[in-house]
């Protein structure tokens, strides 16, 4: 449940940038190959945001697809999850993108 620790970091990052203004919306980018579960973030966000400027803010999670190059057949493929194989059957994949875990923007009043 590392999402709890990461959500605490998310909330303090928001607090640093919002200068005490009320936050209405938060956009978080989560790569589909990052080791986090978006639903766990949603669950933790409400708890962690309570009593901070982000309390009650809408959390929008933008999931980004993963890209990888297969070391066996050298094809470049799109991955929806870290557990997928290449169509050739290989699990030997060099991950190119999809591990993002980034606060993109916040809306404040």
């Amino acid at each position: 449940m590392h999402e709890l620790a990461l959500t605490q970091d998310l909330v303090s990052l928001i607090a640093e940038h919002c200068a005490g203004r009320q936050v209405t919306r938060v956009v978080l980018e989560v790569g589909k190959l990052s080791a986090v579960v978006p639903d766990a973030f949603r669950f933790c966000f409400e708890l962690c945001a309570a009593g901070t400027p982000a309390e009650g803010a809408e959390l929008e999670i933008v999931e980004l697809a993963g890209r990888a190059r297969c070391r066996e057949c050298e094809r470049e493929i799109t991955l929806e999850s870290i557990f997928e194989r290449c169509p050739c059957g290989s699990i030997s994949l060099e991950l190119l993108s999809g591990e993002q875990l980034q606060l993109r923007e916040v809306e404040v009043q």
């Binding site: 620790a5 990052l13 940038h17 080791a35 875990l101 606060l103 923007e105 809306e107």
Partner: protein, 253 residues
Amino acid sequence: MCGVCGCSDGAEEHVHERNHAHAHAHGERAAKLQLRGSSSLKIEQALLNKNQRFAEQNRAFLAARSCLAINLMGSPGAGKTALLEAIVRRAPELQLLVLEGDQATERDAERIRKAGCRALQINTGTGCHLDAHAVGHGLATFAPEPGSLIVFENVGNLVCPALFDLGESARVVVLSVTEGDDKPLKYPHMFRACNVLVLNKLDLLPYVDFDLQRATDYATQLKPGLEVFAVSATRGDGLDSLSNWFRSRGAAR
């Protein structure tokens, strides 16, 4: 106030540098925002940045003392502590220092001390992994002698610790044969994140359905170049080569 980052305890005070956000809004959305008297701040910062900054501080702390650290990970019960006890007894000249991470108790640090080396326990409470900030405090308390080789024994877990850099120069995952040879497929993040795989509890191999070659193949497909050692921490198989690996890390300081 701690000597690592000059912080007290509040989370916000731990941030030392940042890129400043700027107000940013486009087209229709911007118009709506202005109507509501609100604005959009573009941030674009990774959530792991904070941990990363502490990890870099730890790396600098270690480098300044010609020390190196190894992050030792694996499931609860994989035999991480037993392995360290065996290495400490087999290679006392290494003068390892061990930072033990567990949710509760001092048991592992006590075991390591009994085996003959310095150990410090970090209890993470509900935390499922060691983070670079806690490790930084541990290192400051430890005050390692120049040239020390330090092992961070992480909280038993094949998922979360893989995400958090602690300032180590090598990552080792311990997988015991009682856990099943398909674990690399089920927990690919961990096996991709490591430089060394230790297959432990070889003495139990006759009693379980575990294919050493299959586990090795899965893991090395995920992480080409992964070094693999098959050992029994209790019976002693393979410990000479693993001790030599620790010696080679020690020599790299």
